[in-house]
Amino acid sequence: MFVYADNAATTALSETALAAMTAALRDTYGNPSSLHRKGQEASDALRHARETMAHYLGAQPSEIYFTGCGTEADNWAIRYGAKAGAAKGKRHLISTPIEHHAVLHTLQALEKEGFEVTYLPVYDNGVVRLEDLEKAIRPDTALVTVMYANNEIGSIQPIPEIGALCHEKGVLFHTDAVQAAGHLPIDVQAQHIDMLSLSGHKFHGPKGVGLLYCRKGIPIKPFIEGGAQERGKRAGTEALPSIIGMAAAFRESCEHMEENRRKVSALRDKLIAGLSRIPYSRLTGDPVNRLPGMVSFCFEGIEGESLLLRLDMAGICASSGSACTSGSLDPSHVLLAIGLPHEIAHGSLRLSLCEYNTEEQVDYILEQVPQVVRTLREMSPVWAHMMENRENPYKD
């Protein structure tokens, strides 16, 4: 059996998005900046895609800026959000230690340029607390950036409450919603979000396209210079087929959000319940407030890359935050930030489901993972040490 369970890394393109993109690639080849009919046809299609994205985010079309990816949107929002603050003498930023590297590395670059960053604690469930944020906000705080939902452990942050607090204190609020968009209901007005990043390929759209929502009136400067596209804020000929594909996929995901959420979270809960039966395993992230498809575990006594490759050999595509998969000596910064010791964080497994997964696939995963974990434990000296003073669950 083949099971794709790495939807937090990327998703398969939906048939709807594929059809929309195929038509756009073939027919809508005009440059939206051209005045002739082919250009105007493209310009209309671009406007339509922008209206779709704005509609499902609760934003105005004029507040949507298409980008090359979610990472670009994060870089842009944080760098120029911070600079807008610096123009008023505000050089303090607030974030969390579990952000994506698109956010963390941008913050680190800004720290080198003289900004000060406060990283809020996220506790063992990977969720920030409002009282910590309230204490951290200072008169010179320029920007708060907190991800909507985490890409490794699935914890969902209290975004509407964070937004309300930021607005009460007059601080700009950005959220990296790459994992949430298309899966959780987003309304930038009701949730008090000033800036939001998303990426097309996490909800069955294409890769290589994302967007930044930036509330009207925020003086954000262009990140990429060289043309009048995106109202002079993001130069470069628009990747129209990708933008159209993203809009088609986003519409589809948002229209079916509730039924997908019900289906996927039922699969997730079955998988979590089954994997929890593996001895010396633990679910990572918030047990309740988590992304519908996110199943993240640590298994003691084994290492994640081995687990991942053995599962791949069994036809299951998954992911891990172990050091060996990151190419460094340290395991995932997210797992360390929620307080897991290195040796346990090395044994992490992430299975991220979507509405294309089936119950049969979940049953197959539940058949394979315990076997692979057991095989690897039986060759692990760490497991052997652990079992010296305990009853080995694998002893017959």
């Binding site: 081995s306 490759l309 172990s322 050091a323 060759m379």
Partner: protein, 150 residues
């Protein structure tokens, strides 16, 4: 395949040789630490200066398991003197290469065998000067002991 592992590496990872424990081993060596994500433990059964049997236990990534498997294959049935001369480069070559970031696993395999042999000599009451680095005494992270990338 993942991480640019050779077919040989994947073969030894999928079906590792010599996995297990020797209860009445003549020498046991363990290197690495769980914090870094790799630990190897080697058990040797030695008779008349020949390594009659060897087993390993490894906690680590695919290349850690594959290098343990290959290193144990390379010394099984060999005189102790030959095993002492086993280098990490020989293990890497026998596996048709390792990705650069994984060469440290082969260093751990070499160190694990040396640690087991040092333990054997110690038990025999024989003086030995098997080289160990200070870091390895405290749980080596498999840093490169001068080996070039394969």
């Amino acid at each position: 395949m993942a991480m640019d592992y050779s077919e040989k590496v994947m073969e030894h990872f999928a079906h590792p040789h010599n996995v297990g424990v020797i209860e009445d081993a003549d020498g046991v060596g363990e290197v690495g630490n769980a914090k870094c994500g790799d630990i190897m433990k080697m058990y040797l059964k030695i008779k008349d200066g020949i390594i009659e049997d060897v087993k390993f236990q490894t906690f680590g990534c695919a290349s850690a398991i594959a290098t343990s498997s290959m290193a144990t294959d390379l010394i099984k049935g060999k005189p102790v003197e030959d095993a002492l001369k086993l280098t990490n480069q020989a293990v890497v070559e026998a596996l048709d290469g390792l990705p650069a970031v994984k060469v440290h696993c082969s260093v751990l395999a070499e160190q694990a065998i040396k640690a087991a042999l040092a333990d054997y000599y110690k038990r025999q009451g024989i003086e030995n000067d098997i080289s160990k680095c200070a870091d390895c005494e405290n749980g080596c992270c498999g840093h490169d002991h001068g080996a070039e990338e394969a």
